[in-house]
Amino acid sequence: MTAGAVRNATARGWMPDFCSLPILGSVVVTVELIVLIVLIAPGQGGWPTLRDLFASSFLAQWIAMISAALLCKLGPWLGRRRFWIGGMIATLVPALVAMACSAIAGSLDQSLALGWIPVAEASTFLLSNAVLAAVVGLILMRYIFVLQQWQRGVEAQAAARIETLQARIRPHFLFNSLNAIASLIRIDAEKAETAVEDLAMVFRATLREERADHTLADELELIDRYLAIESLRLGDRLRVTRTIEPVLRDCRIPALSVQPLIENAIHHGVQALPEGGLIAISAYRDGSDLCVSVRNPKPAHPLPRLGGNHIALGNIRERLRMRYGDCAALEVDAGGDYHAVTLRVPLQEGAGR
Protein backbone atom coordinates (compact mmCIF):
# COMPACT_ATOMS: atom_id res chain seq x y z
CA MET A 1 0.00 0.00 0.00
CA THR A 2 1.35 3.41 -0.91
CA ALA A 3 1.61 6.36 1.43
CA GLY A 4 -0.89 8.16 -0.81
CA ALA A 5 -3.56 5.57 -0.07
CA VAL A 6 -2.95 5.97 3.63
CA ARG A 7 -3.09 9.76 3.55
CA ASN A 8 -6.32 9.56 1.58
CA ALA A 9 -7.67 7.24 4.22
CA THR A 10 -7.27 9.77 7.00
CA ALA A 11 -10.06 11.84 5.41
CA ARG A 12 -12.32 8.81 5.66
CA GLY A 13 -11.67 8.06 9.32
CA TRP A 14 -11.20 4.36 9.91
CA MET A 15 -12.75 3.35 6.58
CA PRO A 16 -10.27 1.91 4.01
CA ASP A 17 -10.16 3.80 0.72
CA PHE A 18 -11.62 1.40 -1.83
CA CYS A 19 -11.04 3.94 -4.60
CA SER A 20 -7.28 3.50 -4.41
CA LEU A 21 -5.61 1.18 -6.90
CA PRO A 22 -3.39 -0.70 -4.41
CA ILE A 23 -6.42 -1.63 -2.34
CA LEU A 24 -8.46 -2.63 -5.43
CA GLY A 25 -5.53 -4.81 -6.44
CA SER A 26 -5.45 -6.57 -3.12
CA VAL A 27 -9.24 -7.07 -3.34
CA VAL A 28 -8.91 -8.76 -6.75
CA VAL A 29 -6.09 -11.04 -5.62
CA THR A 30 -7.77 -11.99 -2.34
CA VAL A 31 -11.09 -12.75 -4.02
CA GLU A 32 -9.35 -14.93 -6.59
CA LEU A 33 -7.56 -16.84 -3.84
CA ILE A 34 -10.84 -17.38 -1.99
CA VAL A 35 -12.46 -18.70 -5.19
CA LEU A 36 -9.63 -21.23 -5.54
CA ILE A 37 -9.99 -22.29 -1.90
CA VAL A 38 -13.74 -22.79 -2.23
CA LEU A 39 -13.40 -24.79 -5.46
CA ILE A 40 -10.55 -26.99 -4.23
CA ALA A 41 -11.97 -27.58 -0.75
CA PRO A 42 -12.97 -31.23 -0.14
CA GLY A 43 -16.63 -32.15 -0.63
CA GLN A 44 -16.91 -30.43 -4.02
CA GLY A 45 -16.61 -33.70 -5.90
CA GLY A 46 -13.02 -33.74 -7.10
CA TRP A 47 -10.94 -31.18 -8.95
CA PRO A 48 -12.80 -28.25 -10.49
CA THR A 49 -12.93 -28.02 -14.24
CA LEU A 50 -11.59 -24.98 -16.06
CA ARG A 51 -15.17 -24.00 -16.81
CA ASP A 52 -16.03 -23.98 -13.09
CA LEU A 53 -12.99 -21.85 -12.37
CA PHE A 54 -13.84 -19.27 -15.04
CA ALA A 55 -17.50 -19.08 -14.15
CA SER A 56 -16.86 -18.77 -10.41
CA SER A 57 -14.09 -16.23 -10.87
CA PHE A 58 -16.24 -14.19 -13.20
CA LEU A 59 -19.09 -14.07 -10.72
CA ALA A 60 -16.84 -13.46 -7.72
CA GLN A 61 -14.91 -10.63 -9.37
CA TRP A 62 -18.14 -9.00 -10.47
CA ILE A 63 -19.37 -9.08 -6.89
CA ALA A 64 -16.02 -7.77 -5.63
CA MET A 65 -15.77 -4.89 -8.12
CA ILE A 66 -19.35 -3.72 -7.62
CA SER A 67 -18.92 -3.90 -3.84
CA ALA A 68 -15.63 -2.01 -4.02
CA ALA A 69 -17.22 0.67 -6.21
CA LEU A 70 -20.10 1.06 -3.75
CA LEU A 71 -17.74 1.16 -0.77
CA CYS A 72 -15.57 3.70 -2.57
CA LYS A 73 -18.56 6.00 -2.96
CA LEU A 74 -19.94 5.29 0.51
CA GLY A 75 -16.50 5.50 2.17
CA PRO A 76 -16.55 9.12 3.40
CA TRP A 77 -20.11 8.72 4.68
CA LEU A 78 -19.37 5.41 6.43
CA GLY A 79 -16.17 6.79 7.93
CA ARG A 80 -18.19 9.40 9.80
CA ARG A 81 -20.51 6.78 11.38
CA ARG A 82 -19.65 5.04 14.57
CA PHE A 83 -17.16 2.24 14.08
CA TRP A 84 -19.50 -0.72 14.59
CA ILE A 85 -22.46 0.75 12.69
CA GLY A 86 -20.27 1.68 9.74
CA GLY A 87 -18.57 -1.70 9.90
CA MET A 88 -21.89 -3.53 9.81
CA ILE A 89 -23.13 -1.57 6.82
CA ALA A 90 -19.80 -2.03 5.08
CA THR A 91 -20.08 -5.82 5.60
CA LEU A 92 -23.67 -5.85 4.40
CA VAL A 93 -22.73 -4.22 1.09
CA PRO A 94 -20.83 -7.20 -0.38
CA ALA A 95 -23.47 -9.59 0.99
CA LEU A 96 -26.32 -7.76 -0.78
CA VAL A 97 -24.29 -7.34 -3.96
CA ALA A 98 -23.50 -11.07 -3.88
CA MET A 99 -27.20 -11.93 -3.55
CA ALA A 100 -28.16 -9.67 -6.42
CA CYS A 101 -25.38 -10.92 -8.68
CA SER A 102 -26.11 -14.53 -7.82
CA ALA A 103 -29.77 -14.04 -8.63
CA ILE A 104 -28.90 -12.54 -12.00
CA ALA A 105 -26.42 -15.34 -12.66
CA GLY A 106 -29.05 -17.90 -11.70
CA SER A 107 -31.68 -16.50 -14.05
CA LEU A 108 -29.11 -16.18 -16.85
CA ASP A 109 -28.17 -19.79 -16.28
CA GLN A 110 -31.78 -20.84 -16.49
CA SER A 111 -32.77 -18.78 -19.51
CA LEU A 112 -29.69 -19.92 -21.44
CA ALA A 113 -30.35 -23.45 -20.13
CA LEU A 114 -26.68 -23.90 -19.31
CA GLY A 115 -27.44 -26.02 -16.27
CA TRP A 116 -24.34 -24.89 -14.40
CA ILE A 117 -26.35 -24.20 -11.32
CA PRO A 118 -28.74 -27.02 -10.40
CA VAL A 119 -32.29 -25.63 -10.06
CA ALA A 120 -32.79 -27.29 -6.69
CA GLU A 121 -29.82 -25.43 -5.20
CA ALA A 122 -30.80 -21.98 -6.41
CA SER A 123 -31.71 -20.56 -3.00
CA THR A 124 -28.71 -22.21 -1.28
CA PHE A 125 -26.53 -20.74 -4.04
CA LEU A 126 -27.84 -17.26 -3.28
CA LEU A 127 -27.45 -17.57 0.46
CA SER A 128 -24.04 -19.21 0.57
CA ASN A 129 -22.63 -16.65 -1.85
CA ALA A 130 -23.99 -13.84 0.32
CA VAL A 131 -22.42 -15.30 3.47
CA LEU A 132 -19.14 -15.93 1.67
CA ALA A 133 -19.05 -12.37 0.38
CA ALA A 134 -19.79 -10.95 3.83
CA VAL A 135 -17.05 -13.04 5.46
CA VAL A 136 -14.48 -12.22 2.80
CA GLY A 137 -15.45 -8.54 3.01
CA LEU A 138 -15.05 -8.57 6.76
CA ILE A 139 -11.63 -10.23 6.63
CA LEU A 140 -10.39 -7.90 3.90
CA MET A 141 -11.56 -4.77 5.67
CA ARG A 142 -10.03 -5.91 8.92
CA TYR A 143 -6.75 -6.66 7.16
CA ILE A 144 -6.60 -3.29 5.39
CA PHE A 145 -7.64 -1.50 8.59
CA VAL A 146 -4.85 -3.09 10.62
CA LEU A 147 -2.36 -2.36 7.85
CA GLN A 148 -3.42 1.27 7.79
CA GLN A 149 -3.14 1.64 11.55
CA TRP A 150 0.33 0.19 11.42
CA GLN A 151 1.37 2.44 8.54
CA ARG A 152 0.00 5.54 10.27
CA GLY A 153 1.87 4.59 13.43
CA VAL A 154 5.11 4.28 11.49
CA GLU A 155 4.59 7.64 9.79
CA ALA A 156 3.75 9.43 13.04
CA GLN A 157 6.80 7.95 14.69
CA ALA A 158 9.06 9.01 11.84
CA ALA A 159 7.65 12.56 11.92
CA ALA A 160 8.17 12.78 15.67
CA ARG A 161 11.73 11.56 15.32
CA ILE A 162 12.56 14.14 12.66
CA GLU A 163 11.06 16.86 14.82
CA THR A 164 13.20 15.92 17.81
CA LEU A 165 16.28 15.71 15.67
CA GLN A 166 15.59 19.15 14.19
CA ALA A 167 15.11 20.58 17.63
CA ARG A 168 18.42 19.11 18.70
CA ILE A 169 20.47 20.02 15.67
CA ARG A 170 18.95 23.50 15.21
CA PRO A 171 19.87 24.00 11.55
CA HIS A 172 20.07 27.79 11.88
CA PHE A 173 22.69 27.59 14.59
CA LEU A 174 24.62 24.84 12.82
CA PHE A 175 24.87 26.54 9.43
CA ASN A 176 25.59 29.99 10.83
CA SER A 177 28.37 28.51 12.97
CA LEU A 178 29.84 26.63 10.02
CA ASN A 179 29.74 29.86 8.03
CA ALA A 180 31.58 31.74 10.76
CA ILE A 181 34.19 29.00 10.99
CA ALA A 182 34.63 28.94 7.20
CA SER A 183 35.36 32.64 7.37
CA LEU A 184 37.65 32.29 10.36
CA ILE A 185 39.88 29.68 8.71
CA ARG A 186 41.42 32.36 6.45
CA ILE A 187 41.81 34.91 9.20
CA ASP A 188 42.77 32.96 12.29
CA ALA A 189 43.16 29.21 11.87
CA GLU A 190 43.80 28.64 15.56
CA LYS A 191 40.55 30.32 16.54
CA ALA A 192 38.74 28.31 13.89
CA GLU A 193 40.14 25.12 15.40
CA THR A 194 38.87 26.05 18.85
CA ALA A 195 35.48 26.86 17.38
CA VAL A 196 35.27 23.42 15.78
CA GLU A 197 36.09 21.84 19.15
CA ASP A 198 33.42 23.93 20.86
CA LEU A 199 30.87 23.08 18.21
CA ALA A 200 31.68 19.38 18.58
CA MET A 201 31.22 19.54 22.33
CA VAL A 202 27.89 21.36 22.09
CA PHE A 203 26.55 18.88 19.56
CA ARG A 204 27.84 15.87 21.46
CA ALA A 205 25.91 17.09 24.47
CA THR A 206 22.70 17.83 22.56
CA LEU A 207 22.72 14.59 20.60
CA ARG A 208 23.33 12.34 23.61
CA GLU A 209 20.38 9.97 23.90
CA GLU A 210 19.86 9.82 27.64
CA ARG A 211 19.89 13.13 29.43
CA ALA A 212 21.04 12.42 32.93
CA ASP A 213 21.85 14.97 35.59
CA HIS A 214 25.21 16.62 35.81
CA THR A 215 26.61 19.37 37.99
CA LEU A 216 25.92 23.05 37.56
CA ALA A 217 29.63 23.43 36.77
CA ASP A 218 29.21 21.01 33.84
CA GLU A 219 26.23 22.94 32.52
CA LEU A 220 28.11 26.23 32.82
CA GLU A 221 31.06 24.75 30.93
CA LEU A 222 28.72 23.71 28.13
CA ILE A 223 27.20 27.21 28.11
CA ASP A 224 30.65 28.80 27.89
CA ARG A 225 31.47 26.70 24.83
CA TYR A 226 28.16 27.61 23.27
CA LEU A 227 28.67 31.31 24.01
CA ALA A 228 32.18 31.14 22.55
CA ILE A 229 30.69 30.09 19.21
CA GLU A 230 27.93 32.67 19.32
CA SER A 231 30.32 35.48 20.17
CA LEU A 232 32.33 34.60 17.08
CA ARG A 233 29.25 35.39 15.06
CA LEU A 234 27.90 38.31 17.00
CA GLY A 235 31.18 39.91 18.05
CA ASP A 236 30.83 42.60 20.69
CA ARG A 237 27.06 42.70 20.28
CA LEU A 238 27.00 39.74 22.66
CA ARG A 239 27.92 40.61 26.25
CA VAL A 240 27.56 38.21 29.17
CA THR A 241 27.79 38.51 32.93
CA ARG A 242 27.84 35.51 35.26
CA THR A 243 26.96 35.73 38.94
CA ILE A 244 27.37 32.25 40.36
CA GLU A 245 27.55 31.42 44.06
CA PRO A 246 30.65 29.19 44.14
CA VAL A 247 29.20 26.68 46.64
CA LEU A 248 26.46 25.83 44.17
CA ARG A 249 28.81 24.65 41.43
CA ASP A 250 28.62 21.03 42.63
CA CYS A 251 24.81 20.96 42.76
CA ARG A 252 23.08 18.57 40.43
CA ILE A 253 20.95 19.87 37.61
CA PRO A 254 19.36 18.15 34.58
CA ALA A 255 21.70 18.24 31.59
CA LEU A 256 20.82 20.91 29.03
CA SER A 257 18.25 22.60 31.20
CA VAL A 258 19.88 26.05 31.10
CA GLN A 259 21.70 26.09 27.75
CA PRO A 260 18.45 26.28 25.72
CA LEU A 261 17.47 29.34 27.79
CA ILE A 262 20.71 31.05 26.74
CA GLU A 263 19.98 30.10 23.16
CA ASN A 264 16.55 31.72 23.35
CA ALA A 265 18.08 34.80 24.94
CA ILE A 266 20.36 35.17 21.94
CA HIS A 267 17.79 34.27 19.31
CA HIS A 268 14.99 36.53 20.52
CA GLY A 269 17.09 39.11 22.32
CA VAL A 270 20.70 39.91 21.46
CA GLN A 271 20.50 38.85 17.82
CA ALA A 272 17.31 40.83 17.24
CA LEU A 273 18.85 44.08 18.52
CA PRO A 274 21.12 46.08 16.21
CA GLU A 275 23.34 47.12 19.10
CA GLY A 276 23.18 43.68 20.75
CA GLY A 277 22.74 43.34 24.47
CA LEU A 278 23.76 41.87 27.79
CA ILE A 279 22.78 38.39 28.94
CA ALA A 280 22.88 38.11 32.71
CA ILE A 281 23.26 34.56 34.05
CA SER A 282 22.95 34.09 37.78
CA ALA A 283 22.78 31.06 40.06
CA TYR A 284 21.69 31.46 43.65
CA ARG A 285 20.09 29.60 46.50
CA ASP A 286 16.49 30.28 47.44
CA GLY A 287 15.41 28.28 50.49
CA SER A 288 15.88 24.63 49.55
CA ASP A 289 15.93 25.41 45.83
CA LEU A 290 18.68 26.04 43.35
CA CYS A 291 17.72 28.89 41.03
CA VAL A 292 19.40 29.64 37.72
CA SER A 293 18.19 32.79 36.04
CA VAL A 294 18.80 34.08 32.51
CA ARG A 295 17.88 37.64 31.67
CA ASN A 296 18.17 39.41 28.34
CA PRO A 297 16.95 42.59 26.65
CA LYS A 298 14.54 42.26 23.74
CA PRO A 299 13.30 44.59 21.02
CA ALA A 300 10.14 46.53 21.89
CA HIS A 301 8.62 45.60 18.54
CA PRO A 302 9.96 42.19 17.58
CA LEU A 303 10.11 41.47 13.86
CA PRO A 304 7.54 38.93 12.75
CA ARG A 305 10.20 36.33 12.07
CA LEU A 306 9.71 32.76 11.01
CA GLY A 307 11.11 29.90 13.04
CA GLY A 308 12.57 30.31 16.48
CA ASN A 309 12.98 27.93 19.34
CA HIS A 310 9.62 27.98 21.08
CA ILE A 311 9.74 24.27 21.72
CA ALA A 312 12.63 24.71 24.15
CA LEU A 313 10.62 25.94 27.14
CA GLY A 314 7.94 23.27 26.78
CA ASN A 315 10.59 20.62 26.42
CA ILE A 316 12.44 21.70 29.58
CA ARG A 317 9.18 21.91 31.54
CA GLU A 318 8.27 18.39 30.47
CA ARG A 319 11.65 17.04 31.56
CA LEU A 320 11.45 18.84 34.89
CA ARG A 321 8.00 17.41 35.52
CA MET A 322 9.16 13.88 34.79
CA ARG A 323 12.24 14.24 36.94
CA TYR A 324 10.93 16.26 39.93
CA GLY A 325 7.13 16.22 39.73
CA ASP A 326 5.82 19.50 41.12
CA CYS A 327 9.04 20.36 42.98
CA ALA A 328 10.67 22.14 40.04
CA ALA A 329 9.55 25.03 37.89
CA LEU A 330 10.44 27.30 35.01
CA GLU A 331 9.33 30.85 35.73
CA VAL A 332 9.03 33.40 32.97
CA ASP A 333 9.08 37.13 33.65
CA ALA A 334 8.62 39.20 30.50
CA GLY A 335 8.64 42.99 30.70
CA GLY A 336 8.41 45.52 27.90
CA ASP A 337 12.08 45.48 26.99
CA TYR A 338 13.49 42.46 28.82
CA HIS A 339 12.84 38.78 29.21
CA ALA A 340 13.87 36.71 32.21
CA VAL A 341 13.52 32.98 32.78
CA THR A 342 14.33 31.29 36.08
CA LEU A 343 14.89 27.58 36.45
CA ARG A 344 14.11 26.31 39.93
CA VAL A 345 15.08 22.78 41.04
CA PRO A 346 15.43 21.18 44.49
CA LEU A 347 18.94 21.60 45.87
CA GLN A 348 20.91 18.36 45.54
CA GLU A 349 24.57 18.46 46.36
CA GLY A 350 27.45 16.11 45.77
CA ALA A 351 28.25 13.54 43.16
CA GLY A 352 25.52 11.07 44.09
CA ARG A 353 22.44 10.78 41.93
Partner: protein
Protein backbone atom coordinates in the same frame (compact mmCIF):
# COMPACT_ATOMS: atom_id res chain seq x y z
CA UNK B 1 29.57 45.45 -11.27
CA UNK B 2 29.35 47.02 -7.85
CA UNK B 3 28.36 44.70 -5.00
CA UNK B 4 27.05 45.53 -1.52
CA UNK B 5 27.42 42.86 1.18
CA UNK B 6 24.70 42.90 3.84
CA UNK B 7 24.86 40.71 6.95
CA UNK B 8 24.71 41.45 10.67
CA UNK B 9 27.61 39.07 11.34
CA UNK B 10 31.07 40.53 10.67
CA UNK B 11 32.62 37.14 9.85
CA UNK B 12 29.92 36.41 7.31
CA UNK B 13 30.58 39.75 5.59
CA UNK B 14 34.32 39.14 5.61
CA UNK B 15 33.90 35.77 3.99
CA UNK B 16 31.64 37.00 1.18
CA UNK B 17 34.01 39.87 0.48
CA UNK B 18 36.95 37.46 0.33
CA UNK B 19 35.08 35.04 -1.94
CA UNK B 20 34.11 37.76 -4.41
CA UNK B 21 37.75 38.87 -4.43
CA UNK B 22 38.95 35.34 -5.17
CA UNK B 23 36.51 34.93 -8.03
CA UNK B 24 38.50 37.65 -9.78
CA UNK B 25 35.69 38.36 -12.22
CA UNK B 26 36.61 41.42 -14.27
CA UNK B 27 34.75 44.52 -13.14
CA UNK B 28 33.13 42.81 -10.17
CA UNK B 29 33.95 44.46 -6.84
CA UNK B 30 32.57 44.67 -3.32
CA UNK B 31 32.16 48.40 -2.78
CA UNK B 32 30.47 48.42 0.62
CA UNK B 33 29.00 46.58 3.58
CA UNK B 34 25.85 47.05 5.62
CA UNK B 35 24.69 45.48 8.87
CA UNK B 36 20.91 45.31 8.47
CA UNK B 37 18.04 46.11 6.10
CA UNK B 38 17.82 49.82 6.92
CA UNK B 39 21.56 50.23 6.61
CA UNK B 40 21.48 48.45 3.25
CA UNK B 41 18.80 50.70 1.77
CA UNK B 42 20.58 53.85 2.95
CA UNK B 43 23.91 52.56 1.64
CA UNK B 44 22.39 51.85 -1.77
CA UNK B 45 20.76 55.26 -1.73
CA UNK B 46 24.01 57.13 -1.10
CA UNK B 47 26.10 55.01 -3.46
CA UNK B 48 23.96 52.86 -5.78
CA UNK B 49 25.17 49.32 -6.45
CA UNK B 50 24.28 46.71 -9.06
CA UNK B 51 24.06 43.65 -6.84
CA UNK B 52 23.24 43.17 -3.15
CA UNK B 53 24.22 40.00 -1.31
CA UNK B 54 21.50 40.08 1.34
CA UNK B 55 21.20 38.03 4.51
CA UNK B 56 17.63 37.32 5.61
CA UNK B 57 17.65 37.08 9.41
CA UNK B 58 18.83 40.50 10.62
CA UNK B 59 17.79 42.88 13.40
CA UNK B 60 15.83 46.11 12.81
CA UNK B 61 14.75 45.20 9.26
CA UNK B 62 15.13 41.73 7.80
CA UNK B 63 16.33 40.91 4.31
CA UNK B 64 12.89 40.13 2.90
CA UNK B 65 11.54 43.53 3.81
CA UNK B 66 14.69 45.29 2.61
CA UNK B 67 14.31 43.53 -0.75
CA UNK B 68 10.75 44.77 -0.98
CA UNK B 69 11.75 48.40 -0.34
CA UNK B 70 14.69 48.13 -2.71
CA UNK B 71 12.62 46.72 -5.54
CA UNK B 72 10.36 49.78 -5.35
CA UNK B 73 13.27 52.16 -5.96
CA UNK B 74 13.90 53.85 -9.28
CA UNK B 75 17.08 51.89 -9.96
CA UNK B 76 16.68 48.71 -7.95
CA UNK B 77 19.77 46.54 -7.45
CA UNK B 78 19.66 42.82 -8.21
CA UNK B 79 19.20 41.03 -4.90
CA UNK B 80 20.87 37.71 -4.13
CA UNK B 81 19.67 36.29 -0.83
CA UNK B 82 22.13 34.49 1.43
CA UNK B 83 20.63 32.53 4.26
CA UNK B 84 21.65 29.89 6.76
CA UNK B 85 18.39 27.98 6.88
CA UNK B 86 15.14 29.57 5.87
CA UNK B 87 13.12 27.06 3.93
CA UNK B 88 9.84 28.97 4.27
CA UNK B 89 11.34 32.26 3.29
CA UNK B 90 13.02 30.69 0.31
CA UNK B 91 9.74 29.51 -1.10
CA UNK B 92 8.35 33.05 -0.94
CA UNK B 93 10.57 34.54 -3.59
CA UNK B 94 11.60 31.57 -5.64
CA UNK B 95 9.54 32.72 -8.60
CA UNK B 96 11.35 35.96 -9.50
CA UNK B 97 14.43 36.02 -7.29
CA UNK B 98 17.71 36.67 -9.02
CA UNK B 99 19.10 33.88 -6.89
CA UNK B 100 19.50 32.66 -3.34
CA UNK B 101 22.46 31.05 -1.70
CA UNK B 102 22.79 28.96 1.41
CA UNK B 103 25.55 29.52 3.92
CA UNK B 104 28.33 28.64 3.95
CA UNK B 105 28.33 29.84 0.34
CA UNK B 106 30.66 28.02 -2.03
CA UNK B 107 32.81 30.02 -4.44
CA UNK B 108 31.42 28.36 -7.56
CA UNK B 109 27.84 28.84 -6.48
CA UNK B 110 28.56 32.51 -5.85
CA UNK B 111 30.04 32.86 -9.33
CA UNK B 112 26.88 31.41 -10.88
CA UNK B 113 24.69 33.79 -8.87
CA UNK B 114 26.68 36.85 -9.92
CA UNK B 115 26.63 35.73 -13.57
CA UNK B 116 22.89 35.38 -13.29
CA UNK B 117 22.51 38.83 -11.75
CA UNK B 118 24.36 40.31 -14.72
CA UNK B 119 21.59 39.14 -17.03
CA UNK B 120 18.77 40.59 -14.98
CA UNK B 121 17.06 43.75 -16.15
CA UNK B 122 15.67 46.40 -13.84
CA UNK B 123 12.14 45.39 -14.81
CA UNK B 124 12.68 41.80 -13.73
CA UNK B 125 14.19 42.98 -10.48
CA UNK B 126 11.22 45.22 -9.78
CA UNK B 127 8.87 42.26 -10.12
CA UNK B 128 10.59 40.49 -7.24
CA UNK B 129 8.93 43.00 -4.97
CA UNK B 130 5.55 41.53 -5.87
CA UNK B 131 6.62 38.15 -4.57
CA UNK B 132 8.30 39.31 -1.41
CA UNK B 133 5.52 40.40 0.89
CA UNK B 134 6.44 39.87 4.52
CA UNK B 135 3.65 39.99 7.09
CA UNK B 136 3.93 43.72 7.63
CA UNK B 137 6.77 46.15 7.13
CA UNK B 138 8.88 47.40 10.03
CA UNK B 139 9.62 50.68 8.24
CA UNK B 140 7.82 53.06 5.92
CA UNK B 141 9.89 54.28 3.01
CA UNK B 142 9.47 57.90 1.89
CA UNK B 143 11.27 60.57 -0.09
CA UNK B 144 11.90 64.05 1.18
CA UNK B 145 13.21 66.45 -1.41
CA UNK B 146 14.77 63.59 -3.32
CA UNK B 147 16.42 61.87 -0.39
CA UNK B 148 15.23 58.62 1.08
CA UNK B 149 13.76 58.39 4.58
CA UNK B 150 12.96 55.19 6.46
CA UNK B 151 10.52 55.72 9.30
CA UNK B 152 10.23 52.89 11.85
CA UNK B 153 6.58 51.92 12.17
CA UNK B 154 6.94 52.08 15.97
CA UNK B 155 7.61 55.83 15.71
CA UNK B 156 4.48 56.60 13.73
CA UNK B 157 1.62 58.30 15.59
CA UNK B 158 -0.92 58.47 12.78
CA UNK B 159 -1.52 58.45 9.02
CA UNK B 160 -3.63 61.26 7.58
CA UNK B 161 -5.00 61.09 4.03
CA UNK B 162 -4.82 64.39 2.15
CA UNK B 163 -5.77 64.62 -1.52
CA UNK B 164 -3.53 62.22 -3.41
CA UNK B 165 -1.12 61.64 -0.55
CA UNK B 166 -0.99 60.15 2.88
CA UNK B 167 0.90 62.17 5.49
CA UNK B 168 2.83 60.06 7.97
CA UNK B 169 3.03 61.86 11.31
CA UNK B 170 5.89 60.42 13.33
CA UNK B 171 7.99 61.36 16.34
CA UNK B 172 10.51 63.33 14.29
CA UNK B 173 8.22 65.14 11.89
CA UNK B 174 6.05 64.22 8.96
CA UNK B 175 6.57 62.69 5.52
CA UNK B 176 4.40 62.19 2.44
CA UNK B 177 3.89 58.76 0.93
CA UNK B 178 2.00 57.58 -2.11
CA UNK B 179 0.14 54.69 -0.61
CA UNK B 180 -3.56 54.26 0.00
CA UNK B 181 -4.91 54.48 3.53
CA UNK B 182 -6.87 51.30 2.87
CA UNK B 183 -3.73 49.32 2.02
CA UNK B 184 -1.98 50.68 5.11
CA UNK B 185 -4.98 49.77 7.23
CA UNK B 186 -4.92 46.21 5.92
CA UNK B 187 -1.18 45.81 6.36
CA UNK B 188 -0.98 47.25 9.88
CA UNK B 189 -4.36 46.15 11.21
CA UNK B 190 -2.75 44.88 14.42
CA UNK B 191 -1.15 48.19 15.31
CA UNK B 192 -3.33 50.89 13.77
CA UNK B 193 -7.02 51.61 13.92
CA UNK B 194 -9.19 53.69 11.61
CA UNK B 195 -10.74 56.58 13.57
CA UNK B 196 -12.00 58.59 10.63
CA UNK B 197 -12.44 58.26 6.87
CA UNK B 198 -9.07 59.96 6.44
CA UNK B 199 -7.16 58.91 9.54
CA UNK B 200 -5.38 55.82 10.88
CA UNK B 201 -3.98 55.99 14.45
CA UNK B 202 -1.48 53.83 16.39
CA UNK B 203 -3.66 51.97 18.87
CA UNK B 204 -1.16 52.07 21.75
CA UNK B 205 -0.84 55.85 21.41
CA UNK B 206 -4.47 56.70 22.04
CA UNK B 207 -4.49 58.11 25.57
CA UNK B 208 -8.10 59.28 25.89
CA UNK B 209 -11.35 60.06 24.09
CA UNK B 210 -12.96 63.49 24.69
CA UNK B 211 -16.19 65.20 23.66
CA UNK B 212 -15.77 68.45 21.79
CA UNK B 213 -18.28 71.31 21.95
CA UNK B 214 -20.19 70.29 18.85
CA UNK B 215 -21.19 66.81 20.00
CA UNK B 216 -18.31 65.05 18.25
CA UNK B 217 -15.53 62.98 19.81
CA UNK B 218 -11.82 63.68 19.69
CA UNK B 219 -8.97 61.26 20.35
CA UNK B 220 -5.92 62.38 22.27
CA UNK B 221 -2.93 60.76 20.65
CA UNK B 222 0.55 60.67 22.15
CA UNK B 223 2.96 62.38 19.76
CA UNK B 224 0.22 64.27 17.89
CA UNK B 225 0.16 68.07 18.19
CA UNK B 226 -3.62 68.31 18.13
CA UNK B 227 -6.55 66.07 19.06
CA UNK B 228 -7.88 64.02 16.16
CA UNK B 229 -11.50 63.71 15.23
CA UNK B 230 -13.20 60.34 15.65
CA UNK B 231 -16.07 59.81 13.22
CA UNK B 232 -19.40 58.56 14.49
CA UNK B 233 -19.03 55.45 12.38
CA UNK B 234 -15.64 54.47 13.86
CA UNK B 235 -16.47 55.46 17.43
CA UNK B 236 -17.74 52.06 18.73
CA UNK B 237 -14.62 50.21 17.54
CA UNK B 238 -12.26 52.86 18.92
CA UNK B 239 -14.08 53.02 22.24
CA UNK B 240 -13.87 49.24 22.56
CA UNK B 241 -10.11 49.32 21.89
CA UNK B 242 -9.48 52.14 24.35
CA UNK B 243 -11.38 50.27 27.02
CA UNK B 244 -8.92 47.40 26.76
CA UNK B 245 -5.80 49.53 27.02
Amino acid sequence: MRILVVDDEPLARTRLRALVGELAMPGVDVVGEAVDGVDAILAHESAPVDVILLDIAMPRMDGLEAARHLSALESPPAVIFCTAFDEHALAAFEAHAVDYLVKPVSRERLRIAIERARKFTADQVRRIGDDVKPQSRSHICARIRGSLRLVPVGEIAYFLAEDKYVVVHHDNGEVLIEESLKALEDEFSERFVRIHRNCLVAIDRITALERNGEGGTMALVRGARQALEVSRRCLPTVRELVKHL
